[in-house]
């Protein structure tokens, strides 16, 4: 056989496969290689960045994280992920105003992911493991109020190991979730299940105990820390002649009676004044009790503080709304309420930072024939029950700093009682914030440093799960939020957002059964696929496929990609083709 010329000075093998240098006896590779990594001035790095949905969730839910599990049909782990941050996903999955969806990057492509619908679907299943109480600590914490703020604080404090007692003036737990929000929006079985889960961590409760009345404030000041989460339950008065009449009812008090199953009377034509959730819920509840409600609101639909979906559902149910209308007096005949005198408004230019101001138009006065008035123009804090010397803000709300601390040492506050926006999800966030803040006050940990480490973006959300389980993801976590410009949307397929089914309007007004029906597994799975998984590697393999230098290595045992910096030239193709923004390019030497 002929001698084959060696290829390169170090070609180890001669060609032994008969005569052709192929197959098992290939020509081999030189033992040295050019270290092209030395050419690089930009370094690609695999990172995990935050998704805008997670940043926007005031409760600090790891939205992208639970959707990642849901995409794979791993709903139990998806629920574990949710429960890591909030004990009330079934509640939020129904009544939250879902700021996550407004922030969703998919909105810039077709339509936002139906995050709330998926949260509900996942929360209605079972978790794979339940949260556990932390190793027990000696300090005791008192919580006043069992609304979402108080319950959330109790839940996380138990996970941190504290002894917790919740004082609640009512006989039942849940605050506005039970007293305010009607069952057609939040079935009590859902609420009970989540409250039971919280209590099973070993939370003590004292119901029927109104702090400042049944027990004095001084009693609580002997506790190591107190979290005030008493909500805002005092109705604001209408401030018009005749509004103290017996037939002028407070909206929250009336809903409380309806929700607790007390006998209520409502006339045949009820006028509801206000434009918030309370007003709309009063109208929808009155309709279900056989009355014919009309909502009177001084601005237009656009300015109504109630959630858009609720307004839409109310209109579907045939509820009349008189926009740009203000009541001016309650009319009575023979001692009986017979009408509401109203005037039409026009909207003036909004003051800077404010809402458009309604201005009455002279000569447009008219009388609306009604027999009951429900006043739902807002609630305020019951100041009489607050400890003396507490710094307040407008409308009686308690002043708190960014970690929920009040002006009194040892006293934290959050939710409706404080300066937080009056929403369930903000109350949940406030409860979590107080739990960590109270904990840090005992451990001496620096809150600024903790905040930096645990925050999710820049809107105030943070993760307590990252504190409790510091098994951080293998890749580096970078506190940056991924926007649409960081994504490569070429890899996105247009997919239609799942429509969430509702009961038919004529069927739903017959009783208080749940209006929104939720979706089935198939629809949930399809909807979860719409999530881009912003900021996290979703394993598409583009980096591996496109690298012209074969310098992205795939490790099948660890199921992850790695960059071989010996050879990577830093071209950045991988970063450009990453659909989710999980590869960043940094100047060499900066890291």
């Amino acid at each position: 056989m002929s001698e084959w010329k060696q290829v390169g000075p170090d070609a180890q093998k001669r060609y032994t496969y008969q005569e052709l240098p192929i197959g098992d006896a290939s020509i081999g590779m030189p033992s040295e290689r050019r270290k092209t990594g030395l050419w690089r001035y930009l370094r690609p790095r695999f990172v995990r960045r935050f998704s805008p949905c997670s940043e926007a969730c005031p409760a600090g839910n790891d939205v992208e994280g639970f959707l990642a599990f849901a995409q794979q049909g791993r709903y139990g782990e998806a629920l574990d992920t949710l429960l890591g941050e909030s004990p009330l996903p079934g509640v939020c999955g129904r009544v939250c105003f879902h700021p996550c969806e407004s922030a969703c990057n998919r909105g810039a492509f077709d339509e936002a992911v139906s995050i709330q619908g998926l949260e509900r679907f996942v929360a209605d299943g079972e978790p794979t493991s339940l949260p556990v109480p932390g190793p027990s600590r000696k300090e005791k914490v008192a919580i006043i109020g069992s609304g979402p703020a108080g319950l959330t604080c109790a839940y996380h404090l138990r996970r941190l190991g504290y002894e917790v007692t919740v004082f609640e003036k009512q006989a039942v737990l849940g605050g506005m979730l039970r007293l305010g929000i009607p069952t057609y929006r939040l079935p009590r079985s859902v609420l009970d299940r989540e409250i039971d889960r919280i209590l099973s961590l070993g939370v003590k409760v004292e119901t029927g105990c109104r702090v400042g009345h049944d027990i004095p404030w001084e009693h609580l000041l002997t506790w190591d820390a107190v979290f005030l989460a008493a909500g805002a339950h005092a109705a604001l008065s209408l401030g018009i002649p005749g509004d103290s009449a017996q037939e002028v009812i407070s909206g929250t008090a009336w809903l409380e009676a309806v929700n607790l199953g007390r006998p209520v009377s409502v006339g045949s034509r009820v006028g509801i004044i206000g434009g918030g959730n309370t007003a709309v819920d009063c109208a929808r509840a009155a309709l279900r009790l056989g009355s014919n409600p009309v909502i009177v609101y001084r601005r237009t639909r656009n300015e109504m503080p109630a959630m858009e979906a609720e307004i839409e559902e109310a209109l579907q149910e045939g509820i009349e709304i008189q926009w740009l209308t203000s009541p001016i007096a309650v009319r009575r005949r023979n001692g009986k309420l017979v009408g509401l005198e109203c005037i039409r408004n026009r909207l003036c230019k909004p003051e800077p930072g404010g809402r458009a101001r309604p201005e009455p138009i002279d000569g447009t006065e008219f009388v609306m024939e009604i027999d009951t008035v429900i006043s739902a123009v807002g609630e305020t804090v019951e100041e009489a029950y607050l400890p003396p010397g507490l710094k307040g803000e407008q409308e009686g709300a308690v002043w708190v700093d960014s970690w929920g601390r009040t002006s009194l040492p040892g006293l934290w506050a959050g939710g409706d009682v404080a300066t937080d926006p009056r929403m369930v999800v903000h109350a949940i966030g406030a409860g979590k914030r107080a739990a960590l803040s109270i904990h840090a006050s005992f451990t001496g940990e620096d809150l600024v440093e903790l905040g930096r480490r645990l925050r999710t973006g820049a809107k105030g959300a943070f993760s307590i799960d990252r504190y409790l389980n510091d098994d951080l993801p293998g890749v580096e976590l970078v506190n940056e939020v991924v926007g649409p410009d960081h994504l490569n949307l070429h890899y996105a397929e247009p997919l239609e957002r799942a429509a969430l089914p509702r009961l038919d309007a004529d069927q739903r007004v017959r009783d208080f059964s749940e209006v929104n029906l939720g979706c089935d597994e198939q629809r949930a799975r399809a909807e979860a696929q719409r999530c881009f998984r912003c900021g996290e590697c979703r394993g598409c393999g583009n980096c591996y496929v496109f690298c012209p230098d074969g310098s992205v290595l795939f490790d099948p045992s660890a199921h992850e990609f790695r960059i071989d910096y010996e050879y990577c030239k830093g071209c950045g193709v991988c970063g450009n083709e990453c659909p989710t923004g999980a590869i960043v390019m940094t100047a060499e030497g900066e890291v």
């Binding site: 290829v7 390169g8 000075p9 008969q18 005569e19 052709l20 240098p21 192929i22 197959g23 290939s26 020509i27 081999g28 590779m29 030189p30 040295e32 290689r33 050019r34 270290k35 092209t36 050419w39 690089r40 990642a68 794979q72 070429h490 590697c537 979703r538 394993g539 598409c540 393999g541 591996y544 496929v545 496109f546 690298c547 012209p548 230098d549 074969g550 310098s551 795939f554 199921h559 992850e560 990609f561 071989d564 010996e566 050879y567 030239k569 830093g570 071209c571 950045g572 193709v573 970063g575 450009n576 083709e577 390019m585």
Partner: protein, 296 residues
């Protein structure tokens, strides 16, 4: 968490890192993918072009046997090698059932200009092998000079005011040779790329021609992280189309969801910097005619 559907691409590499191609070079992507499909039992002929550097300059990165061949005769390399294999099989030196794939890869200058005669000859004789024209639309290895496949208006060092002529439509010329398979490829569409090379690999003997549209960051004057993006926009605007001609039957393999205006493609590249609105209209008309006109 990685759950990968792209099996064809998650295969062993026979084209290794440490090669001297420019950062972001589409040739690196193409050669990696070709080798993933053709595997170890193949022999390469690489013309004296950019791609001869990673394959033949020590320390080389290609693990399989490879012939460093002059620019003009790279198609003839296929003719010679496939003949040799046939003879060795007949003599019983190589087992008759063993599949050995012969391929050649060379630049657009070598293919469409200098090697055109050898290419046409090998195709007409239907010699057995795969030919890849790595179309980076100019003579790049000698420092960016025009070729017959450089598009109209493009700057190169030999067309400093923009090229006057249009791009030569080489795949159509090759299809006119009645060979079993002709296909266009793009580095932005790896699945399409791999599927077509697999198809050619598994066909009976004959000449299979591929033309890879390969945006060259160095020669086209765009940032090196945009290679795939530029390649993708070429296809999404219709500047480059993905099709195959199987035994004479023409078949579009990828259709953009909505064809983008040509300017989206042109504006990313320094070589088209001097274009006037009229020039862009001319290019748009060329694309529209190509995509919608008779014979498209």
């Amino acid at each position: 968490m990685i759950n990968n559907p792209r099996d064809a691409l998650f295969k062993e590499d026979y084209f290794h890192p440490g090669h001297p191609l420019c950062p972001g070079c589409p040739g690196g992507m193409a050669l990696r993918w070709i080798m993933k499909v053709l595997g170890r039992d193949s022999i390469a002929n690489v013309g004296a072009t950019c791609l001869c550097l990673p394959t033949h300059v020590y320390p080389h990165s290609l693990e399989i046997p490879s012939l460093y061949i002059a620019m003009a005769p790279s198609p003839a390399g296929i003719s010679g090698m496939s003949a040799a294999i046939r003879i060795l099989k007949r003599k019983g030196v190589i087992p008759a059932e063993k599949r050995i794939t012969v391929f050649a890869i060379s630049g657009d200058g070598s293919t469409a200009d200098i090697g055109m005669a050898a290419l046409s000859g090998a195709a007409e004789r239907n010699d057995d092998g795969l030919y890849f024209c790595f179309d980076n639309e100019a003579y790049m290895n000698t420092g960016i000079q025009r070729s017959s496949t450089t598009p109209q208006f493009s700057w190169t060092f030999s067309t400093t005011k923009g090229k006057v002529q249009r791009k030569k439509d080489l795949p159509k010329i090759m299809a006119a040779h009645d060979i079993p398979y002709v296909a266009t490829l793009s580095v932005a569409y790896p699945e399409d790329f791999v599927r077509k090379v697999e198809k050619a690999r598994d066909m009976g003997p004959g000449f299979k021609y591929f033309q890879i549209h390969g945006p060259c960051p160095t020669g086209w004057r765009f940032p090196e992280h945009k290679t795939v993006e530029v390649a993708r926009l070429a296809v999404e605007t219709g500047f480059w189309s993905l099709y195959e001609v199987v035994h004479g039957s023409f078949n579009i393999t990828y259709r953009p969801r909505k064809r983008l205006p040509v300017v989206d493609y042109v504006k990313l590249q320094g070589r088209f910097q001097g274009l006037t609105a009229q020039d862009i209209r001319t290019l748009q008309n060329w694309v529209d005619e190509k995509e919608e006109g008779p014979g498209s």
